[in-house]
């Protein structure tokens, strides 16, 4: 029974893990946030975004980036503990 349970549950768990990791990667994709910061700066400099829009977006993205960096470093330190 144990063996059957394992076979039934394991693929499910790994699928959940994969989806969870993908969601975390998407949410805390620091490269993507850095690209958005650069895009915000460029669009402001080319007059496509107003100063207030630029400042609001910059603040939002910098907060996201800080959070993403923290979460990523916490995640990587957890992996190290497991190893």
């Amino acid at each position: 029974m144990l063996l059957i349970d394992d076979l039934l549950i394991r693929p499910f768990i790994s699928l959940v893990e994969i989806i969870q990791n993908m969601a975390l990667d998407e949410m805390y994709d620091t490269e993507k946030i850095r690209d958005e910061l650069k895009e915000n700066q460029l669009l402001f400099e080319l007059g496509e975004r107003s100063e207030s829009e630029y400042r609001q977006t910059k603040e939002k993205l910098e907060t996201q980036l800080k959070l993403a960096d923290e979460i990523r470093s916490q995640m990587s330190s957890k992996v190290e503990i497991k190893q």
């Binding site: 690209d35 650069k38 895009e39 460029l42 669009l43 400099e45 080319l46 007059g47 496509e48």
Partner: protein
């Protein structure tokens, strides 16, 4: 008082002293010589300056100022953050890297770097590939070398740095103006510079080993 020096770049030996708005609010730029080379420096409190947007901009602007000082001069730029204990350490660093620095100075002699970013205004109605090729062709004709930079936005169709002979600067300006007027409804261009040729010199200085 600390003797730490922040380094912006390297030029052919020359005594320069000028007012600047430098890294960590430094107000004076001067040179430290090693044989036929001079380092462009300003005083600083630390050997590990924090990388802030403001100080990176100040670093670039100081290099720009030297690049355009009097008749203009060739500068091998240092990346942001190279600060050393004192002038003796800097001389040691230049001595260690002198061949690479000399060769870089020869390679970029009389050259400046210009940056071009092109974004689309109406994505659906233009053939981006064709437009890009047209722009690249026109700019390549008036430059010596070029590097491709990161396309960090979906709206960017071109992000390049061009190495241009100082004497061809007006031809490059005209090429940009021509592109702008031809494609005025399709694209916007961000044209920046002149910069010290960051993207065309690749020198790694072993600062740690040199007692930075």
């Amino acid at each position: 008082m600390s003797e730490n020096l922040y380094t912006y770049g390297i030029i052919e030996q020359e005594d320069i002293q000028m007012d600047i708005e430098g890294v960590q609010d430094a107000e004076t730029l001067y040179t430290v010589d090693y044989r036929t080379l001079s380092a462009l420096v300003s005083e600083i409190d630390t050997t590990e300056p924090e990388r802030t947007d403001e100080d990176v901009q100040r670093h670039n602007r100081v290099l720009q100022q030297v690049l355009e000082f009097e008749d203009g001069r060739t500068v091998v730029p240092m990346s942001f953050g190279m600060a050393f204990k004192n002038s003796r350490t800097i001389k040691g660093v230049i001595r260690g890297a002198r061949r690479a620095l000399r060769s870089a100075l020869n390679d970029i002699d009389g050259m400046i770097e210009l940056g071009v970013k092109v974004i689309t205004i109406q994505e659906d109605t233009i053939n981006e590939g064709e437009l890009r090729n047209d722009i690249v062709e026109q700019l390549s004709a008036v430059s010596v070398n070029e590097t491709e930079n990161d396309l960090f936005s979906d709206r960017l169709i071109l992000n390049k740095s061009y190495l241009v002979d100082r004497s061809n600067r007006s031809e490059f300006d005209e090429a940009i103006e021509a592109i702008e007027s031809t494609h005025t409804d399709s694209v916007k261009i961000q044209y920046t510079g002149p910069w010290a040729p960051y993207n065309f010199v690749d020198i790694h200085i072993g600062a740690e080993q040199s007692g930075r």
